[in-house]
Subunit: 205 residues, 2 copies
Amino acid sequence: MPVTKGSTLDPARTRATILEAATVLLYARGLDGVGVAELCSSVGVSKETLYRHFGTKDGLVREVLEARSERVSRWLADAASAAGDDPAAQLAAVFDALQQWYYEPVFRGCAMVNAAAQHHVEAVRSITGRHLDRHLELLTGIATRAGAADPDALGRQLLMLVEGATIVAEHRGAASTDGHARRAALTLLAAATTDVSADGRTTPP
Amino acid sequence: MPVTKGSTLDPARTRATILEAATVLLYARGLDGVGVAELCSSVGVSKETLYRHFGTKDGLVREVLEARSERVSRWLADAASAAGDDPAAQLAAVFDALQQWYYEPVFRGCAMVNAAAQHHVEAVRSITGRHLDRHLELLTGIATRAGAADPDALGRQLLMLVEGATIVAEHRGAASTDGHARRAALTLLAAATTDVSADGRTTPP
DNA sequence: CCAAGTACGAACCGATCGGTTCGATCTGGG
DNA sequence: CCCAGATCGAACCGATCGGTTCGTACTTGG
């Protein structure tokens, strides 16, 4: 049997195609901004096919968000690990990656946060919660490796900065956060790894 | 003529009543989560009356958001000025007020940010933009009075913290930001008012 | 080659929603 | 006391939307 089938009539491929197109459209125009009919005609798929694969529009939305959340988290984690072993460099890389995203013309804020604001269904909002948890995990990891006195506290501070930068960039433009978010993150990191008990000098190795 | 008429058949009073009820309902359930019919029956008003006062649902939404934005901005500014003349104390007061808000059971995030995520109409999104500008103005003012080297930069950093804390508190609970947002803000303030050119010692008056 | 499954496309359905209209009712100013 | 204007309540309208169904056609594994 063939390993992959690229032709039509391949359920998995059809499903993936719908998922991709829905990811783009729903992000650009909002969950309620695009109907199932338009979504189908945009992909070149019949309603029956879409409903056989995803059961309901909410089911499609959930899968789209789930996949996107994992993709975004992996993207940020990769950006961090690609920056080497220095936690400060990793943190800077995370905010550099975010800032680059903000400048993309299709940037419309965090899809999961936007979705939660639109869709008051718990099944959707829980995805947003897990999304933030993934971010928190990454940031707390960096804080821990940086030797922060309270890595959990620093992680939460950095999470607020990430989400806040995204919101501000969405509504006031990418230039509004350029440099500022990164600098704030490094400032918080430095402060959390500074021995405040004695004088005002840092305590690197 | 009487100065105020409290009875029925007072257009201004009717209008205000609709506005109040709409503010609560639209915030709690989302702009698209409550229809005009339910809104009317909830206030005890006919559709004709609502449409005579606000023209369209969007018109009502815009007025609701405009009023709420001003109310919120005034509330934060008052919290700051009530904290005395010390900029650091004012900043702490702002984040204390926010944190108190996060703990309120009706807290559902920033109404303006949520509205922008739901309603892709420019007339609504611009209100969110102005809302953030008002916050930025307050925070930049504190940064300036604190003698920050770059008050504009610090203001933007603090704005990200405010919006980020609101998002995180909305999705992960008020306890998730309690103390952390305030401490981060004060850390950024301290760092921005510290003379970094020489050694690592602060330079207060 | 054939049966099973995939897919199309179009029609269809019920519900909801924003907005309009209209006759009846009530209030207050002149 | 009476008319203008505010309000009600309910019916009504057109559009949209999520979801279902069906007849047809095509691909493919056995």
